[in-house]
Symmetry: D2
Subunit: 324 residues, 4 copies
Amino acid sequence: MHKVPVGVLGASGYAGRELCGLIAQHPGLRLAFASANDQRGQRARIGATEVTYVATEDAPLSKAEVVFTALPHGAAATWVGNARATGARVVDLSSDFRPGVHASANDTQAPYGLTELMRDSIPGAGIVANPGCYPTAVLIAIAPLLTEGWIAPGATINVTAASGVTGAGYSVRPDLLFAEVAEDFRAYSVGNEHRHLAEMRAVAAQLGGQDNDILFTPHLLPVARGILATITVPVKEYVDDPLTLWRDCYKGEPFIEIADQPPSLRDVVRRNVVRLSVAKAANVRQPTLIIISAIDNLMKGAAGQALQNANVLLGLSEQAGLPA
Amino acid sequence: MHKVPVGVLGASGYAGRELCGLIAQHPGLRLAFASANDQRGQRARIGATEVTYVATEDAPLSKAEVVFTALPHGAAATWVGNARATGARVVDLSSDFRPGVHASANDTQAPYGLTELMRDSIPGAGIVANPGCYPTAVLIAIAPLLTEGWIAPGATINVTAASGVTGAGYSVRPDLLFAEVAEDFRAYSVGNEHRHLAEMRAVAAQLGGQDNDILFTPHLLPVARGILATITVPVKEYVDDPLTLWRDCYKGEPFIEIADQPPSLRDVVRRNVVRLSVAKAANVRQPTLIIISAIDNLMKGAAGQALQNANVLLGLSEQAGLPA
Amino acid sequence: MHKVPVGVLGASGYAGRELCGLIAQHPGLRLAFASANDQRGQRARIGATEVTYVATEDAPLSKAEVVFTALPHGAAATWVGNARATGARVVDLSSDFRPGVHASANDTQAPYGLTELMRDSIPGAGIVANPGCYPTAVLIAIAPLLTEGWIAPGATINVTAASGVTGAGYSVRPDLLFAEVAEDFRAYSVGNEHRHLAEMRAVAAQLGGQDNDILFTPHLLPVARGILATITVPVKEYVDDPLTLWRDCYKGEPFIEIADQPPSLRDVVRRNVVRLSVAKAANVRQPTLIIISAIDNLMKGAAGQALQNANVLLGLSEQAGLPA
Amino acid sequence: MHKVPVGVLGASGYAGRELCGLIAQHPGLRLAFASANDQRGQRARIGATEVTYVATEDAPLSKAEVVFTALPHGAAATWVGNARATGARVVDLSSDFRPGVHASANDTQAPYGLTELMRDSIPGAGIVANPGCYPTAVLIAIAPLLTEGWIAPGATINVTAASGVTGAGYSVRPDLLFAEVAEDFRAYSVGNEHRHLAEMRAVAAQLGGQDNDILFTPHLLPVARGILATITVPVKEYVDDPLTLWRDCYKGEPFIEIADQPPSLRDVVRRNVVRLSVAKAANVRQPTLIIISAIDNLMKGAAGQALQNANVLLGLSEQAGLPA
């Protein structure tokens, strides 16, 4: 079978390595190059495969039909342009082209790759803006409420989320050392100012949530991977079985799981899924739904969803090469 | 120096062992007995000390001036009564005498031992109802808002909290095995029905929060000890420096720390403190404060606060034997 | 493609669940039944698949061409017999038929399924005795030394090994609770009396090591899965590049990795491989090789090797369905 | 009570911070200064105390009666000299003055501060060379065998040891990130070339082990603190109760615990003790003792022992300020 050549720029970080590992297992793709400036010329084993890194400037961009850019925020846009100039299509894992972030001066259009919600806009795109990890967990969870108009007018959507350390990328920072993270738990970006907030707000507004604010407090977990978001949403009224809304909305979606019991990280780790549960809050006057949404930040929150988008771009089966 | 004899019923659980370890270091107390039905006759090392367990029914209750009951909820009330019958005063670590839990048929009065808020009611008490771990973290955090009337009328106080596994007690349950907890994170009692909710609601109402509901979602962390509560409270308006409210309210309190930066578990583990920060939420129309409150569930959330209450009961220095 | 029906007895333990997950991904096998007495009638999700457990006595043994028995040691032998009576071939993950363990009164012959060393004896077998996890890591590491006669006469082979908690099986024991294992490390079966010792001694003797004792001290690691064995072997003399011995001996073996650098658990977890390194000890008068051998105790140490053996039994590709 | 002023150079690393925390609790010492070049001018909270760091060059050395140098190996010697020049006595936590390491060109004499074995040489010393963490765990364990001549002539003492990550110091290295250490276990310095080997060899030779080599393989554990050493020693013959040797040798020592059961890390963490067990190996022709020795690498392995040595230097109670 012919395999489509793809390349990864920024392949030594956690998301980039995950992507290389997935590509190696993919039945329809092959890795044309993997770049990593800090490890140029070195070989690295990723699961059962091995890659040899080239410098980003030496990457043979023209040899790839799809280029994945897993470069730092801000540094990605240039390389996205370089790859586009060779005719390659790009799935960008940085925030550079995402809604709420993309500078207005940059008039490049890039659909937002939250695949289940934006699937139709992807096949013809030159660039897909792959969503952030927290926004993926949150937006998939609240989209049905937004589009169906269930949320109480003017209500604030409260998101408390916790991520494993790979969510911070492969950053050699003292606060990410084992002895500083183990047996600890901490909030960060407290005050509703995390950079993912703008992305969530922009997409939520597109989906009908202009009237509702989002209050987002992320936390750092002593685990390697996984995000759990606990989302409380004041609603107009309770219905008998609120889960029906999500079941209908995501019917037939292979990567969305609507669960009777609250999901935990181990339900989703190493899988390209969003798994979520919904409960009605007792003992409160304001009807409020409690959604628990879990993803693997490196899979559905990064590399997995990027591959899902590439599958759509290339007209392959959307599930190809992805562990459900 | 004369040391006051005290006893511990239920001394093989996590809280009971912590209490025995603290008593061993306390300059004014000595351990007269430690009971544990499942380990009767056995010796156990607790930190630098050793205890020999007796069966609870064999505990020489009359030899203790203060008896700590760290027995399961429901089982404690009887032994509290037995200890009282010998003239001992009791600090009960179970929920049996706590507000919102204590059956109305039982007319025994027991002040609630949230020491900083209820200090005056303790010295003359026969029984002190030692607070639950989550309620300690939450009520110390929100009490100033309640008593000062800052909270928006009718607003819901949203509490998302996470606890280390010792919060579940020394329970040999499959879901608490290492291989099930490590690398995982999960919510439980989702739906606002955790048994600590009634305790928080009852005390919050006493402090002026009759008009405000509490929405509480606890989580299980892959750490041994510590609770972090992330509390969002809609307020009437923003003031310049909201921390001033807590600084004034808890002025001179040795076990309450008001921090400029959000506390993390490692700031509080093995210490008898509540450490908290307060931030104003940006990017929301409804002014909202975000409080992060951290405690060690076995210290300020159980054994430490129990000893603090015993110090008050006995007229000792409130800080005696407690690691600040 | 026709898929061969297989069954798993004891499918709710860690090894049994791993096996069901592997079978679900296997291109040539399908799961005919999965038994678990304690969860009979329940559905369980295992990775991306789901199984419904039956009671072991209700398992339709005759519908499987291969039955995997992942039952407790001692309990397996009876069910191995029952499965054989229906004509099924059996891969037994218990120790009941292993060398050094198998009671002489029981004259049933079962080749030892350390596939790379005993491959020829498997195809015609009715029962394969799947090796223990520690013996797999150790015997693959020392076999070349034994068969080539490199070990110093009369020398003791010193094995210090450490295993993740799933090595103890799905045992609801207090010493395996998260709060007891996290941040801890401990030796067990100290004194050279672990039940895997007899298995290692018996096979090592078959391979030529009658003259050499094994001193084995296992430890419990605060990780979920993985075994690392540190093996020191006094040798007759040093050769220039000792790794050549292992490279020659395991040439072409897809599941044996000879590494330049000492392997760590993360090199092997979720993979069906033994990865090992060999170093010459400096600063000692007695020439001694230091072998570091790493496996995933649930994969090459249990379920993966069982599937590898089933592949051989059935004449399928030995690598089918196995993550290298 | 008069408190003796002491200073800490290199007080922002793990050992230096531990030391500051211990000094704050010590009844007879007070912290005159704490230096940390990378955090000069900053305040840091250490447990219940706070320190303000000065640059090492600004440390008022003359104000301290004892200076603890917790500086990097190689950098310590100069500052030890500077401190001595002011008349202060020094406990050096680096390896610069330890046996087997100390360059012969440097003729400064410094007794080795393995307190229980070398106590008499300390009171008059200007400099005490505080032992390394691994050597402390190992030498305390094997000293009785060496001094009593129990070891088989020419036999190799085999040490496999594992340490928590703080043993590597506060090093911001990629291999010490949480995501790289959690769920992993690995050997390092494989080949008997760890820098602690020379220290162990030199002291063991002084104690009578000139005829016995040491084979030492350290490992990195996914825990914050603690060392467990598994030591096998071929002996001339078995005696009935080998533990008697250690019980006699360490009689009355408050910081040495001879245990019936193998110690685990949680027995010793946050305590200034060596806890060890001894077992006779079964199933081997060569009589061999298996010693398990556990310490907290930051306490008895660094800061605690340094304080113990300072107590001896100053004529204070050796146990003052130390958690047994």
